[in-house]
């Protein structure tokens, strides 16, 4: 068993969803129940494979790549099929494995218009493969392929199952991200040529860059290409404008996956690829990344305050929250990057939950216009309290998961890595701390306007407005439990990520 997992574990993990999708191709579209069942079973099986892997994972050496598989793939360019898991990717893989099955459970009675569960669920499965692949890839070509695989299913999800403005939003999402990817690819190629066209392996590249004495200017440029690719995906200010449109138009499931996992591909790219391979350039870029991060925090919050649509507000809040993650990354310290990874997981759970709630509110009220809502606590008390809980989590209340992404990032900004301006980052620290007030402002204001008060006449006697149903409970409970658990026992994540993060910053210390 152990041997099998070592050799095949990750491959099975990544491609099992694709197998499920293939299977579904042969079943007629009108048999929706079978499709739902197959999709669910596939994702649950994938999660079980993940659990098997995690149980074999050696948590005492999280810094090492485990279940490492490295075989030749495209030998012409020395690209390898190199996959492995370490402490940095494990939490994000776990998050993905958790979110996707829950999204499918939620889909049980929430297939968005115009229906067609077959296509919808198949796309989710393809997406699943893409996301998992991105997190396990240890070769940048392989990473790039998976990174791009993710794009298309999401494009179709928004474009076919989205809201009224779906066409514009989906194209914008697709092209904007692709634009970044193109530059990222160029940066990867430049890296390849500059290190002697030997390998695309992340770890080998890191040591080659150190050996080869590549001029700092070149490194900075290459980092810039990656920065655009990853920064658009995060998204960082000012490359964020695709996000509110994509989120607002996407179906609930799309929004949840987008917020919970897809955005993390960008931040993960920074901590996995850009910084370890190009540490010196990272030091040069850090002040700028930090600047955009804190602008994002305040700007995203102001954007939230101006929204009239609940879902768009939550989307904008992602800009602010990812600002904290990027601030943690920009410090280039183990503590800051640990906080950033914690922030990724926390944001995935919390904002994912908020999008779930927005989706369910939309199902009941057929609108998300904040002005028309109100009194959710009267009409659907349990859902209202869950919304209250999630807003508290989202504003970074200590004792819930959000805090451990936010406060440690602020803390880390006090003392960034050597070579990064301390005084500048202390200014960022204060701005980020001020950002917590804004976060409380827009989230509580949202809560007040949607959950408190009494329902408007329009909806007061609407029989469609009911409290939580069974699929919602099943899909949401794990999120809620984990938000509390990680809030009180943050060590669960910090212990896993720490070793790998420290290892990845070894190149910086040189």
């Amino acid at each position: 068993m152990t041997e099998f997992l070592n050799d095949w574990g990750i491959t099975v993990l990544v491609f099992l969803p694709l197998v499920g999708a293939l299977l579904m191709m042969f079943i007629p579209a009108k048999d929706e129940e079978s499709h739902k069942l197959i999709a669910l079973l596939t994702t649950v099986a994938t999660a079980l494979v993940g659990i098997a892997l995690f149980s074999e994972f050696d948590f005492d050496r999280t810094a090492d790549l485990q279940f490492d598989v490295n075989t030749s793939w495209i030998s012409v360019v020395n690209a390898n099929y190199h996959v492995a898991i370490d402490g940095m990717s494990l939490p994000l893989i776990a998050l993905t494995l958790l979110v996707v099955p829950l999204v499918i459970i939620y889909s049980w009675n929430h297939i968005p218009d115009p229906g067609n569960a077959k296509m919808f669920l198949m796309l989710i499965l393809v997406l699943h493969t893409g996301m998992l692949g991105s997190f396990v890839a240890q070769d940048i070509v392989l990473f790039f392929v998976f990174f791009e695989v993710v794009l298309l299913p999401m494009y179709f999800m928004i474009g076919v199952w989205g809201g009224p403005d779906r066409l514009y939003a989906s194209i914008k999402f697709f092209l904007y991200t692709l634009f970044g990817s193109a530059l990222m690819l160029v940066a990867f190629l430049a890296l390849y040529w500059n290190t002697g066209s030997q390998t695309f392996d992340m770890q080998e590249l890191a040591s080659l860059v150190a050996e080869r004495d590549i001029p700092l200017g070149t490194q900075v440029l290459i980092f810039g290409g990656m920065f655009l690719g990853f920064g658009i995906k995060v998204p960082m200010f000012p490359f964020h404008t695709w996000l509110p449109d994509a989120h607002t138009q996407a179906p609930t499931q799309g929004s949840v996956i987008l917020a919970a996992v897809l955005l993390k591909l960008g931040t993960y790219g920074f901590v996995r690829i850009a910084i370890p391979i190009l540490p010196e350039a990272a030091v040069e870029w850090a002040p700028w990344i930090g600047l955009l991060a804190v602008i994002g925090i305040i700007y995203g919050a102001l954007g939230c305050l101006a929204q009239t649509d609940m879902k768009r507000l939550i989307a904008f809040s992602s800009v602010a929250h990812m600002g904290y993650v990027m601030l943690g990354i920009a410090t280039l310290t183990p503590f800051g990057i640990n906080a950033a990874i914690f922030g990724m997981v926390a944001h995935g759970l919390i904002t994912g939950m908020l999008f779930f709630i927005a989706g369910s509110v939309k199902d009941r009220y057929h609108t998300l216009e904040i002005k028309r809502l109100g009194g959710l606590l009267v009409q659907a008390p349990k859902m209202g309290w869950i919304l209250g809980f999630c807003t508290m989590a989202s504003l970074g209340l200590p004792g819930l998961a959000g805090f451990w992404g936010e406060f440690p990032a602020i803390l880390a900004a006090y003392n960034p890595a050597d070579g990064v301006s301390t005084s500048l980052f202390r200014v960022y620290m204060v701005i980020a701390a001020i950002g917590t007030v804004f976060a409380a402002g827009y989230l509580l204001w949202l809560l007040q306007r949607t959950a408190f008060g009494t329902p408007s006449d329009e909806f007061a006697d609407d029989p469609e407005i009911t409290d939580m149903n069974m699929t919602e409970w099943i899909a949401w409970t794990p999120f809620l439990v984990l938000i509390v658990l990680f809030g009180f026992v943050p060590g669960i994540i910090f212990d896993i990520t720490d070793g790998a993060v420290v290892e990845s910053l070894k190149t910086l210390a040189r």
């Binding site: 160029v186 440029l221 183990p334 640990n338 200590p398 602020i410 003392n415 060590g491």
Partner: protein
């Protein structure tokens, strides 16, 4: 460990108190108290709705709080017993001479130990506090029991002011577990080092005192609420929140690290939010809840930044005892301490309702009255005061309290005393008067800590909790009787005879608040005034004459506005329309108990030179029990000498003010028995009076400033401007790029592709239309052009890129 080696013990040997290490199972396991309340919360949350008869869910809360109270009282009792026992032993073997050279030698040895030990937080802290003698196994278990340390630290000179002499103080009992650990920061401090974060408890005089206050008031409020909140639309929620609040408050009180303190601090804030907005159907209530939370968040900026500054200043640790030790022993730079103290002060300003961030507190009265008594008078709002006490060395040195005539902290406190007191005069809502009175009294506490009168501040916190809870619950009883109104002018008056028990208890609470001899407030307020050192021959830490005067003005104001309340509520004619009478027993007994305590608690710390032999025997007990040993993790503070003349002056000022207000109402009553206030005449005659009244009525325009100057512009124009920028500038760039690409695409297609090289690129054309066909299902036509040109642009950029490299 450069930080620790710089912290030499030279100063410590110079002037520290003798101390001993109390030890008891209870001190190491006080976490049980919040745990009980947490369990109660979880139980009510999960099973409250299905509890047999949900209007009886208070059984759960009451049982839990009773247990918590019992354990707290037992802990306090054990603490006191051990202390008194130690004094007995001590007097038997008086003045065991300790050779200073031995002390130095032991200290040097300790330094060595510290240097060897690379871990931080609790472990380092136990090194700091005393000699760590825990075996490796014990360490692995995380149980760091600090037994048997005393001798090395047995000090030389116990308190130079003489009053502390002969007492040996109790050291804190700290117990920690590792919470989590992460990689450290780069730089000099650590490479590849691990930062350990601890969670734990400190049992010392201060925390045990607070434990008793919180559980005691909470118990009475639980009891009182069974009647007061009976039949409420959200009875279960109410009790769930009460339990959660008590748990969080105790969690915060017992914190052994500042990180834990932040967690508790915010959790009590969220409970406060939930309880202020308890009746959230009405917008004013949810507005008040939001205001409270957001104002506190503003202060929290200071809390976060201040704690971060201390974290790095103290060599990357959140551990409270380590920070305190370093502050006392010169391990923190003056800048660090000043910056941290100023930042933390803003947190205190919001949480403990100090000027100018106090504005949320009166609005918080929108919550149920028992909650106001518990959270917004007796416990949560003193969290800021408590935090100052917890990190007292940082404030002591950071604010340069010793020997100074003024500092920011003390001034904010004094300003709050006067500013809050003035506002209490113009309120018609009895709860609002009490709220502003709370603001004013919190000002006294902060003033006390700001001038170095640590014990006086803590003592006022202690006595205030009882008499203010008494007054708030009394106000609840009034409202219960008077048609759920708090309006003194419209619904009350002449209630003296109709509600005798309420009157008696309210009167006692008032006397205590005003500071009439021998009620509780008299003693604590007197100590604060003495502590300012502004009065001749009080020999306190500094020379805060101005603040003494402000404190006296505050005393006069307190007497004035409370006399007004007493008159309007209990004297004159009854102006309401119902038949008010005393509340039922479950509400009455808490009032009586609290009134009783408002009489006696002051004697816990009466001056040692009063009442002859009684004073030297039983005086200053509170100080001895609560104040930590000086010189170790607590600064060497001086206690002022009590002054009979000052006490007389303070009392006279209060009596005069009360008499003035009383005469005014007497005259008014003689003219018109139903009149409640006639200041129109004065205001129309005197412009200054009119202006002053308007200023007070509008609460110094601070609300308007915050709402109109900050909140509204943020929500309105600024947010809209940012969003406009987003849509019309940043996003427009993206859209324009897309449109231009598409246009360029059409141009290229029409003139170059079709015109010039048609045919030669058939192959690529086919593939393009194939992929386009796929996309056309969603978006006809535009996509291909869009996509091809985006790729074109990317390729162009790539080319530039490659050339550049």
């Amino acid at each position: 460990m450069s930080v620790f080696s710089s912290a030499t013990s030279i100063f410590a040997a110079a002037a520290s108190d003798e101390s001993f290490q109390p030890s008891d199972w209870l001190f190491e396991n006080v976490w049980i108290v919040p745990a009980i309340m947490l369990a109660s919360f979880v139980y009510i949350l999960l099973f409250g709705k299905t509890f047999p008869g949900k209007d009886r869910v208070h059984f759960v809360g009451l049982t839990a709080i009773s247990a918590a109270l019992a354990i707290s009282l037992l802990t306090a009792f054990t603490w006191i017993t051990q202390y008194e026992g130690e004094q007995g032993d001590h007097s038997a073997q008086t003045s065991a001479f300790v050779d200073p050279s031995i002390v130095t030698a032991v200290d040097a040895d300790e330094e060595g130990d510290k240097a060897k030990d690379s871990s931080r937080g609790c472990l380092a802290e136990s090194n700091v506090v005393g000699d760590l003698r825990a075996s490796d196994d014990e360490y692995a278990l995380g149980s760091l029991l600090l037994n048997d340390i005393g001798s090395a630290e047995l000090a030389v000179d116990a308190g130079e002011d003489g009053k502390g002499a002969g007492h040996i103080k109790a050291k804190p009992v700290v117990r920690c577990l590792e919470w989590f650990s992460t990689g450290s920061f780069g730089g000099e401090s650590a490479t590849g080092d691990t930062l350990k974060f601890h969670i734990g408890t400190i049992a010392d005089g201060q925390s045990i005192m607070m434990l008793v206050v919180v559980t005691f008031i909470s118990f009475l409020v639980h009891l009182y609420s069974t009647e007061y909140v009976k039949g409420d639309r959200r009875y279960v929620h109410y009790y769930a929140f009460l339990s959660l609040f008590t748990a969080s408050m105790l969690f915060m009180v017992l914190s052994s690290s500042t990180l834990q303190l932040i967690v508790g601090w915010e959790l009590v804030g969220v409970c406060s939010f939930g309880l202020i907005g308890h009746w959230w159907e009405e917008k004013p209530n949810s507005d008040a809840a939001l205001k409270a939370f957001l104002t506190n968040r503003v202060g929290d900026i200071g809390l976060l930044v201040g704690m971060i500054v201390l974290f790095f200043g103290a060599g990357q640790t959140f551990d409270i005892q380590t920070i305190n030790y370093l502050a006392v022993h010169g391990g923190l730079s003056q800048t660090t301490m000043t910056v941290a103290a100023l930042c933390l002060m803003t947190a205190v300003m919001s949480k403990s309702g100090q000027f100018i961030l106090h504005t949320w507190l009166p609005d918080a009265m929108a919550g149920p009255t028992p909650v106001s008594a518990l959270i917004h008078a007796a416990t949560m709002v003193v969290a800021g005061v408590y935090m100052i006490g917890r990190l007292y060395p940082v404030f002591w040195f950071g604010m340069s309290i010793e020997g100074s005539p003024i500092n920011a902290l003390a001034f904010v406190g004094a300003l709050t005393v006067v500013g809050g007191g003035a506002l209490a005069f113009v309120q018609n809502d009895v709860k609002k008067v009490l709220a502003y009175s709370t603001v004013s009294q919190l000002g006294y506490m902060v003033l006390a800590l700001g001038v170095g009168a640590y014990t006086a501040g803590m003592f006022h916190l202690f006595t205030h909790a009882f008499f203010k809870a008494c007054l708030f619950l009394g106000a609840g009883a009034l409202s219960h009787a008077c048609h759920h109104s708090f309006d003194m002018k419209a619904e009350m008056g002449g209630l003296r005879k109709r509600m005798p028990v309420t009157f008696a208890t309210f009167m006692i609470g008032t006397l205590a608040l005003v500071g009439v001899f021998p009620f509780a407030g008299f003693w604590s307020k007197d100590e604060i005034l003495v502590g300012t050192g502004g009065f001749p021959s009080t020999n306190a830490n500094g020379n805060y004459t101005l603040l003494l005067i402000m404190g006296l003005i505050g005393a006069a104001m307190t007497a004035g506005y409370m006399t007004r309340v007493i008159w309007l509520v209990f004297f004159g004619e009854y102006r309401g329309h119902v038949d008010p009478h005393d509340p039922p027993p479950v509400m009455k007994y808490p009032l009586i108990i609290l009134a009783g305590l408002s009489v006696v608690t002051g004697f816990l710390n009466f001056p040692a030179d009063w009442f002859g032999g009684l004073g030297s025997r039983f005086g200053l007990k509170f100080e001895q029990w609560v104040e930590p040993p000086r010189g170790d993790t607590f600064p060497v503070i001086t206690h002022g000498d009590s002054n009979f003349l000052l006490a007389v002056i303070a009392s006279a000022v209060g009596v005069a003010s009360a008499a003035l207000v009383w005469t005014y109402y007497q005259k008014l009553y003689a003219k018109d028995p139903s009149a409640t206030e006639v200041t129109e005449g004065l205001r129309s005659k005197n412009k200054l009076a009119a202006g002053g009244y308007a200023l007070l009525e509008n609460k110094y325009y601070l609300d308007d400033l915050y709402q109109g100057g900050i909140a509204d512009p943020m929500k309105g124009p600024i947010a809209r401007a940012a969003y406009w920028l987003n849509q019309n500038v940043i996003d427009e760039v993206v859209n324009t790029a897309g449109r231009t690409s598409a246009m360029l695409g059409r141009f290229v297609y029409r003139y170059i592709d079709q015109g010039a090289i048609d045919g030669s690129v058939n192959l690529s054309g086919t593939s393009a239309s194939e992929s386009g066909g796929l996309l056309r299902k969603v978006q006809t036509g535009r996509v291909r052009n869009y996509a091809s040109l985006m790729f074109g642009a990317a390729a162009l950029l790539a080319a530039v890129f490659i050339l550049a490299i």
